[in-house]
């Protein structure tokens, strides 16, 4: 394939910003010390680490001391949800029925370990109602987890309302928020609602894979998942992955700086693509309530068209998208998320996801490719 790729799979991962890559290279080849070393190379590495912590804290409205660096979103979710449930006294947890696997599987694991697990079903519009969520919470609920932006649909959950209702019923319950798809696209302020932890990942923000962070509110308790030399206040011991962390710090700073302009533009491109698809294919269906969808995700169902061949037919035209969500696109079963909102199994669904690099021209090319590919396979 010689033509330029139209990359509309930014929900799966994003291209690393060159400035971010350069910062990581600098941290690997020049500031390569171990932050725990007593000499000046160690001091320099510790300084870079502290700066990245400030950058991440500033982006989400927390304190640097509340940031724990992890290997990515999955580990941050595991620590924030599973780790909180294990540290609490209660034996009951609540989450939604269409979480990312890092939360859904943590809930299964908690069930195996004797926890009672309540799953809250979303509506057909792809949004969980605060009433429904709060109704599952009991005074002894140890922890709840809510994904802010649904990764396959792009729908935005009423996180503030849910958090307030949960705390009203169970003030000591740990409220974890999976913000992996929200940071950089929506305004995120950890102090704007009563939550205890929030996860984020660098590679959704034009940063590298293999690094993420957990914001953990001062005083909130989680059980660490590993043991070692006491780094990250003992929550995540092991020599810090300084190059990745430095990259995350810069990536999140750049994402936040770009957001006021980039987010509305992504939303406009999303709507343009949907208009072009629905004009050409009136039978296509947009999943999720358009009024409550993050700007960077468009989920479209094509009745009677199988998703995976459609994805490859688009790929053959230079357009990269996901069928469902890339993390489990290998499973041939229709995704649990799509089933949860009542999408029939024979409706192939594609996720188009945008970034601050996406252009008008790419949207036009993608729309054209979709119309052609659906015709080819119908």
């Amino acid at each position: 394939m010689t033509r330029a790729l139209v990359y509309l799979d930014n929900g799966a991962t994003t291209r690393v910003d060159r400035r971010v890559a350069e910062a990581a290279v600098q941290a690997m080849t020049e500031g390569f010390g171990n932050p725990s070393s007593a000499h000046r190379l160690g001091v320099e590495a510790a300084r870079m680490l502290a700066r990245a912590r400030e950058q991440v804290a500033r982006a989400v409205g927390g304190e640097p001391s509340e940031i724990t660096f992890t290997s990515g979103g999955t580990e941050a979710n595991t620590l924030g949800f599973y780790g909180a449930a294990k540290a609490a006294r209660g034996r009951h947890v609540v989450t939604t029925a269409f979480e990312h696997p890092s939360v859904a599987d943590a809930a299964k694991r908690l069930a195996d370990e004797g926890f009672e697990v309540s799953l809250v079903a979303p509506g057909k519009d792809g949004v969980v109602l605060a009433d429904d969520f709060a109704a599952q919470v009991r005074p002894d609920t140890a922890a709840v987890s809510i994904l802010w932006v649904q990764n396959e649909l792009g729908t935005v959950m009423p996180v503030a309302e849910i958090a307030e209702r949960v705390k009203a019923r169970a003030p000591r319950c740990h409220v974890h928020v999976d913000a992996v798809q929200a940071v950089g696209k929506l305004p995120v302020d950890v102090r704007a609602q009563p939550i205890d932890s929030l996860s984020l990942s660098a590679h959704k923000l034009h940063g590298p894979k293999g690094v993420g962070a957990l914001w953990l509110k001062k005083g909130a308790r989680v059980t660490p998942l590993q043991w070692g030399g006491g780094q990250e206040r003992g929550l995540r011991p092991g020599t810090e992955g300084v190059p990745g962390i430095v990259a995350l710090g810069l990536a999140i700073e750049l994402a936040e700086a770009a957001r006021p302009e980039a987010a509305p533009r992504m939303g406009r491109l999303r709507d343009q693509l949907w208009r072009a698809i629905s004009d050409g294919l009136p039978e296509a269906k947009r999943h999720g309530d358009p009024a409550r969808t993050a700007p960077h995700i468009l989920s479209v169902g094509f009745p009677g068209v199988p998703a995976e061949p459609l994805l490859h037919a688009l790929e053959g035209r230079g357009v990269c998208v996901s069928a469902g969500s890339a993390c489990h696109a290998k499973d041939k079963k229709p995704s649990a998320t799509l089933r949860a909102i009542g999408v029939p199994d024979d409706m192939g669904t594609l996720r188009f996801s945008f970034s601050r690099e996406t252009t008008d021209e790419e949207i036009a090319l993608a729309a054209q490719a979709v119309l052609e590919a659906v015709k080819e396979l119908s």
Binding site: L310, H312, K330
Partner: protein, 394 residues
């Protein structure tokens, strides 16, 4: 303690006049197997091929794992290299036996087996065995059993050194790759076809491979998966495998169309695959096609359907897994390192192309009637011409 790998080969001895050719090929293959281990050295001596591990693999375990992939070898023993003196031989034998007993546990019965390449060496073999055996009894208090020993301690007297061993690792057997000719493997992403290819390698064949790709109905992950399987086979072939990727979508669609209700579709695809593979085989010098088909495993693999599929080409179609139970094939796949790749969930054929109720007893006349709607030979020519080639290195 210097160590060396003593290799043994079996069936080659049976091959009469070809023996020299087979042995040269075997030595060449052993050299290739250790090409990735800098400093390893292969030496051919009296009826033995010795492999000397490099200094940084003093125990020889890394070199042994490489040599264990050479078809034609029946067994390999890591041996201690000692001066040709009974005292030194006895010390090494006690030490080798001690280590092997520790590894196995228990108190095995044993015997010492001596072989002299240099017949001038004195005392004669039985006496060497007797004296070394006595040293082992004294040091380790193991019971002797000369008829059915659980542990055999070997002593070989060469012209420069003596070799002593207590451990014998099985080789893969078969014949050296390259001595029986070339075959073309129809390689899918499944469990069976890599095993079929491996079994042909074991019988001394060289492999080329052909994969049928149906983009966009199957994605490039499937192609990558098949390349990975070809690389796994290349590691056993000890040479690159050339993978032909046939772009099959348009032909497959045409066949699906021509099949009417689809019941004969799979047989039609298989016949076309054979035709294309036959052309690729002829152009690369392969003398047979190889498939992973097992009798009655799936609908296309009934005796009736295999006959109809075989009718499409003149070249022989070899099916080394034909009589395997699935579990037998899986056991080989695990052993040769293809199973984990084969079970990755990337299909080689989209379910859209496979009818729900395929014909299990296709009739040749019906199949030919479907094909008469197309110019099958021209389609096969075109597919064979537009093939994409990937060199797969083990």
């Amino acid at each position: 303690l210097t160590s060396v790998l003593l290799t043994r080969y079996g069936e080659i001895f049976l091959k009469g006049q070809n023996r020299g050719f087979f042995e040269r090929r075997l030595v060449e293959n052993i050299k290739r197997s250790v090409a990735g281990i800098p400093g390893a050295r292969v030496e051919r001596t009296h009826g033995r091929v010795l492999v000397w591990p490099p200094a940084d693999d003093a125990s020889g375990s890394k070199t042994l794992r490489a040599v264990a992939r050479v078809f034609g070898l029946t067994s390999v023993s890591p041996a201690a290299v000692v001066p040709r003196e009974l005292a030194a031989i006895s010390v090494a034998a006690v030490e080798s036996a001690r280590r092997e007993v520790a590894r196995r546990g228990g108190r095995p019965t044993f015997k010492v087996e001596t072989r002299r390449s240099d017949k001038r060496f004195q005392p004669a073999s039985p006496e060497v065995s007797k004296q070394v055996g006595a040293a082992i009894v004294e040091a380790l208090d193991l019971p002797v059993d000369v008829h059915h020993p659980q542990l055999e301690v070997g002593v070989e007297i060469g012209f420069e050194h003596a070799f002593v061993y207590a451990e014998t690792a099985p080789g893969p057997g078969g014949l050296p790759v390259g001595v029986t000719g070339k075959v073309e493997l129809l390689l899918s992403g499944g469990i069976d076809s890599p095993v079929a290819g491996w079994l042909m390698l074991k019988r001394g064949c060289e492999l080329g491979a052909t994969y049928f790709h149906s983009f966009p109905y199957t994605g490039d992950h499937s192609k990558e998966k098949v390349s990975q399987l070809a690389r796994a086979l290349a590691a056993w072939q000890l040479a690159d495998v050339r993978l032909n990727v046939v772009h099959f979508t348009d032909v497959q669609k045409a066949l699906r169309e021509a099949s009417g209700d689809g019941r004969l579709a799979v047989v039609l695809y298989r016949r076309m695959m054979m035709r294309i593979a036959e052309r690729l085989a002829r152009s690369s010098g392969a003398r047979a096609l190889v498939t992973g088909e097992a009798l009655a495993q799936v609908a296309s693999q009934t005796l009736e359907n295999l006959a109809v599929i075989g009718d499409s080409v003149r070249i022989p179609i070899l099916r080394p897994c034909l009589a395997h139970d699935k579990q037998e094939t899986i056991a080989i796949a695990r052993r040769i390192g293809t199973y984990e790749t084969s079970i990755q969930p990337y299909d080689d054929c989209c379910s859209l192309f496979v009818p729900e109720h395929p014909e299990t007893r296709a009739k040749l006349d019906d199949v030919r009637a479907c094909e008469s709607r197309l110019d099958v030979e021209a389609l096969a020519d075109a597919c064979a011409r537009s093939v994409e080639t990937i060199t797969c290195r083990g």
